[in-house]
C-alpha cells in the first residue's frame, strides 16, 4: 500500500472505528482509528449513509476509480483541494459508505457556545460571507479584503482543476466549501461523494439549494451551472450577503473594471458565462491591488 491507493472497496469490519464526529441529513461520519496502512498514512474518516439514502454503488466506485486514474501530480492537487472519496465502504458485502480523508486542522474553528460548551466547527464558506457583526458576536476574526480575494482565487483554482478533469460540482452551498485564511489561503471542497463526472450520474442525490439555483438549469446541474454558482460565490463573498444576485453589490471590492465579467458569469444565457479559468487573472490582480493598498 505504499502508493497510497487503497483497494476500490473496503470492508467496514476491517477498520478500527472511533467516535462519531458528526451527523447530517445523509448519515454519520466516524473517526477511523487504524486504517491498516490505507491512504499512505493520511488520517481517514468513514461516512456511513442512512438506509433511506438512495446510493448508486457503481457511481460511487466510479468516483473512487477516477481519483486512482489520475497521474500522481494531479491526484495530489485534487487531494489538496477536495475531500475526495478514497474507497467505497462495504457492510455485509454491500456499498454502505465511503472512506474520506479527514479534514485538516487549519479548516477548523474553535468557538465558545452560548451553552458554555466548547465547539469545534468547520470553517465553512458561511463564515466568509457573514457580515462583520455576525462574526464579532461569535468571537470569529474577520478576513480582510486582500485575503478575501486571495481565497476566491484559491476557490476558482480548485473549481478550474475539477472542470479540467471532467468533474461537475453540482450543489454548492455555504456549508460545503471550507477555507483557511492563513498564509496564501486554502480552500477545501466537501461532500465530493455527491459530485459527478460529466456524462454520468451522481452516486447520491445532488441537492439543489434554492438560494443557489441556476435559473437557466432548474433541476439539472452541469459545468455551465457550476460557472453560474462560481460567479454567485464571488458576488456573495465580496458583497457579504447570503442572498444577493445583484452584481452591483460587489462593485466596491471587485472594482468597476471587472463588473462586466461578474455580470456575464451571472447571465441567464449559459453560453455567455466565462469559463472558470477566465476568473483567475482578474481575481489575482485585484487581490494584489487590495493587499498593497492595505499595506500602504
Amino acid at each position: 500500500m505504499r502508493t497510497g491507493l487503497p483497494p476500490l472497496a473496503v470492508d467496514g469490519e476491517a477498520l478500527r472505528l472511533g467516535q462519531t464526529l458528526g451527523r447530517g441529513g445523509q448519515g454519520r461520519v466516524v473517526e477511523v482509528l487504524d486504517n491498516g496502512g490505507l491512504a499512505g498514512g493520511r488520517a481517514l474518516v468513514a461516512k456511513w449513509y442512512l438506509p433511506s439514502v438512495a446510493l448508486d454503488a457503481a457511481a460511487l466506485t466510479r468516483l473512487v476509480a477516477w481519483r486512482r486514474s489520475l497521474d500522481e501530480a494531479t491526484r495530489a492537487a485534487v487531494d489538496g483541494v477536495a475531500c475526495w472519496p478514497h474507497a467505497v465502504l462495504l457492510r455485509d458485502g454491500r456499498a454502505a459508505g465511503v472512506l474520506l480523508p479527514r479534514v485538516l486542522p487549519v479548516f477548523w474553528l474553535d468557538l465558545r457556545l452560548p451553552s458554555g460548551a466548547h465547539g469545534r466547527v468547520l470553517r465553512e464558506l458561511q463564515y466568509l460571507i457573514a457580515r462583520p457583526e455576525l462574526l464579532v458576536r461569535r468571537g470569529v476574526p474577520d478576513v480582510d479584503a486582500g485575503t478575501r480575494l486571495r481565497l476566491l482565487v484559491r476557490f476558482v483554482e480548485a473549481v478550474a482543476l475539477m472542470h479540467a478533469n471532467d468533474v461537475v460540482l453540482g450543489d454548492l452551498s455555504v456549508k460545503n466549501v471550507l477555507f483557511s485564511p492563513a498564509g496564501r489561503g486554502r480552500v477545501h471542497l466537501l461532500d465530493c461523494d455527491a459530485l459527478r463526472l460529466t456524462g454520468t450520474n451522481p452516486a447520491v442525490g445532488q441537492p439543489n439549494s434554492p438560494g443557489w439555483d441556476d435559473p437557466a438549469f432548474p433541476g439539472t446541474q452541469n459545468q455551465q451551472s457550476d460557472r453560474y454558482k462560481l460567479a454567485l460565490t464571488v458576488l456573495r463573498v465580496l458583497a457579504r450577503d447570503f442572498h444577493t444576485r445583484d452584481p452591483d453589490d460587489a462593485a466596491g471590492l471587485l472594482g468597476r473594471e471587472y463588473l462586466p465579467l461578474l455580470r456575464a458569469g451571472l447571465s441567464g444565457d449559459p453560453d455567455a458565462r466565462p469559463p472558470t479559468a477566465a476568473w483567475l487573472r482578474p481575481l489575482r490582480r485585484r487581490a494584489e491591488e487590495l493587499t498593497s493598498s492595505q499595506e500602504r
Partner: protein
Amino acid sequence: MTEPPVVIPDRAMILPIYLVCDLSSSMRESGRVDALREALSALRDAIWTNPVVSDYARIAVLGFSGSASLLLPLCDLAVVDDLPELAPDGLTSYVAAFRLLRRTLREDSVQLAGDGYRVWRPLVFFVSDGEPTDRPAEWRAELAELLDVSNDARPEIVGFAVGEARSATLAGIATTRCFVARTGVSVRAAIAEIGDVVIRSVVSSSLGGAPSTAGAPPDGFDELDLL
C-alpha cells in the same frame, strides 16, 4: 409633504419560525420539560455555529397549558442570553395556543414588513404530549381561523405527537408533515429527537433560502400521511 418611500429592489428575506410547546402539567413527568429546555439550548448552539441562520431565520417560543404565553418573542436566538423559563402547569388548551399564535403571527408580519423585510410564510413546530382539554368544536374553529386563506400570515405547521397526544388529532393540525412517537419510546428521548429535526430544518431552510422540512422522520417516530 411626506418623503417618498425608499425602494429596496431586492429586500432581504426572513423566515419566521415558531416553536409552540405544550406545557401542561404532564410535561413535569420524567424529565419531559428538561428535555425541552435542553433542545432549546442545543438549537441556540446550532444557530451560533451557523451564522447563515442568524441572517435568515427568526425564532419565537410560545408555551401553552390552560392559557398561552409568548415566552420568547421573535428574535435571533443566537444572541439570547437567558432562555425562557418553561414552567408546566394545568390544562392543555389548543384554543389558547391557536389564538395567541394567530395574534403573534399577525403582529410579527406587520413589524417585519415595516422593517423592510420580505417575509416567508411562517413555519410552526407544534409539539403536544396530550389531548386538548377544550371542546373539539372550539379548538377546530380556532384552528380554521388560523389557517384561513384570507389570513396573510397563515402558517405552515409541522406537528409532533408524543406521550398521550393522539396521532389523529395532530394529523388534523399539521399542514406539511406530522410525526408520531412510537409506543415505548420515552417522551424525553422523543423531545430530544424533535429538537434535532427543528435544528436540521432551520439550518437547511437558511442554507437553501426557502422553508424546508425535508428529511427522514426522527428516530423513534412514524410519519403520518396528511390528507
